[in-house]
């Protein structure tokens, strides 16, 4: 079956420091990987959508300078939260899909706490 793993599951960082999170797809080719953040208010926000062999598309209010993403192959993606502050708290979810129109498979998320 198709599975998505995320690491770490939980992390705490000091304000102003950076945190890298990883996403691993197993059992299918992750042609596209989307990174989402669910805020403490439970709202889901798309950060960026990465498709292999295409440029990474960031949503409004999210930038590559703040959330650099790497998607080097069809099974792995990573995202870093640079200079994390309180407003970056939340659950970061990775959703991967073989292609447009296909079901997206989600990892369990990385919960980020910023002190």
């Amino acid at each position: 079956g198709a599975l998505v793993y995320q690491y770490p599951r939980r992390t705490i960082c000091k304000s102003g420091t950076s945190m890298r999170m990883e996403c691993q797809a197993v059992g299918f080719q992750a042609t596209s990987v989307a990174w989402y953040r669910q805020s403490p208010q439970k709202t889901f926000e798309l950060i960026a959508l990465s498709t292999v062999n295409s440029a990474i598309k960031y949503e409004q209010n999210f930038t590559q300078e703040k959330f650099p993403i790497s998607h080097p192959n069809l099974s792995f993606s990573s995202m870093t939260v640079l200079n994390a502050y309180l407003e970056d708290r939340g659950l970061y979810l990775c959703g991967a899909t073989p292609g447009l129109g296909d079901e997206q498979y989600f990892g369990p998320g990385t919960r980020l706490t910023v002190l």
Binding site: L49, G95, Q104, P108
Partner: protein
Amino acid sequence: GQQVQQSPSSLVLQEGENAELQCNFSSTATQLQWFYQSPGGSLVSLLSNPSGTKHTGRLTSTTVTKERRSSLHISSSQTTDSGTYLCAIENTNTGKLTFGDGTVLTVKP
């Protein structure tokens, strides 16, 4: 952009009762998924149903594409069904999922 509205925002049931959750969306979708989010935050895909009716276990989803709505029916609810149910629509040609705000289901013993 795409908007997704879910109703009700919360629902409380006694164990054994059925639940009906609704999802309305503003524009054509190439993909529609229902997710379950546990209290811990993990997101589990329940059904992928861009059109028609699909069943899995105690879950039935019916999507009427022309009317831009989908429903999720949970039969014989159990306490372990408690959590948040999310509807997400994939925008045509972009692969971007837009989530609704979810329905928080509480099933009491």
